[in-house]
Amino acid sequence: MSDDRRYDADPHDTGYAGELSGALHTLAAEHQSAPPVPGAEIRRLAVRRGRRLRTTVVVAGIAAAAALAVTLTAGLRHDSGSVRRTTPATGPGLHPSPSLTPTSTATPVVADALVDLTRMTMTVDGRALPVSSGVPEQPTPTGRFTVFGKYRIRPLSTGNGTGGSGAGGAEELKAPWVIELLSADRKKTTLILALTYDPKAPGRSPTTGGWIGLREADAKWLYTRLDKGSVVLVTGRTPTVGASPSALS
């Protein structure tokens, strides 16, 4: 039974490994539990979530949620950007869904943070943070991203995006509170970072080399809010207002 669990790393304790497997299997078998609700209820929750843009529905609160759905449907619409984080996002390694393939009922917005490049804001937990995105020559990529790395401080020269042209000399820059993002199709990356070198840009003008810049306090706060696997949705277009006049793409 333990044959296929052996590997060359430590041949001396495969006996123990087999025993551990046995103990774990027994443990798991003894703690199985029957489904507390029928499959139909699960499907109903899933559909409801799609329709209601994923507000927080805990199973225990189904009844309350149903009542809320009736009364608040309209009021919830603007809330879609500030999806509360009851449950974490599925991470990038999860045999990912490269394209957004929502159910047929609605287009769910399942994100922990929503970045609107047009309005230069990021909405997280109901807070709107001003952002500064990439200059038109190096626009911040859009789409669905997952957090795959976090750094309290990170040199920008090694990143993708070849330097903040708004700041110049990115080779020498280090940014604090850096969150690395990877797109759902794994082809694009970008960073969320504290724009310490240009604290007035967020909310006013696009200045970065394709990143999402925040004010330092906001970046620090966000750093505690997003974990690896969190989903960040980037929408909108880099505004041309305030950008360098030569590049109205």
Partner: protein, 167 residues
């Protein structure tokens, strides 16, 4: 997958998955919660989930991730509020299993996940590596360390577990 097929899959896989997630989280309610949530997501995104060809593994992966970040948040919150490590494990009737669960909870998360996926969910080292996004060598090291740590708690290689208190 039709609704009936999903329901049947759910009914069959739910118990198995809660058992596995219990081994990972050491908390029964938590295991149920995350597995249920994973199934909700499975139906919600059933196209992805079917494209994968291994629906149960898909659900397990989602549930594990949910458990990881829930656990992280709970731990952070506890550290903030109480400045002590995670909640006490309440031992069940079975001392040996209580010891195993307690021992598992002392493992770093990455090791615990590797141990559970490999030794309980029967994934190969390579599969664990792809599941957790870590290199094969790292997974092997995590397994070795995890097992060594568990061996210190559970009487290793004795083979007489019946009625014998483990250390």
């Amino acid at each position: 997958m039709t609704e009936d097929e999903f329901d049947a899959f759910y009914a069959a896989a739910f118990p198995r998955l809660t058992g596995q997630l219990y081994a990972f989280t050491g908390d029964h309610g938590e295991a149920q919660d995350v597995v249920q949530e994973a199934f909700v997501r499975a139906w919600h995104r059933r196209r992805d989930f079917l494209a994968d060809g291994a629906p149960e593994a898909w659900v397990r992966t989602v549930a594990m991730r949910l458990a990881v970040s829930r656990w992280r948040r709970a731990r952070r919150w506890l550290e903030l509020v109480r400045r002590i490590p995670p909640p006490e494990f309440v031992p069940g009737p079975d001392l040996e299993h209580a010891a195993l669960v307690t021992a598992l909870r002392t493992l770093p998360e990455a090791q615990r996940m590797a141990v559970v996926l490999h030794h309980l969910c029967d994934l190969s080292v390579e599969q664990v590596a792809s599941e957790t996004g870590a290199p094969v060598g790292t997974v092997k090291a995590r397994l070795a360390r995890g097992r060594a740590a568990l061996a210190r708690v559970l009487a290793p290689g004795e083979g007489e577990r019946e009625g014998d208190r483990v250390r």
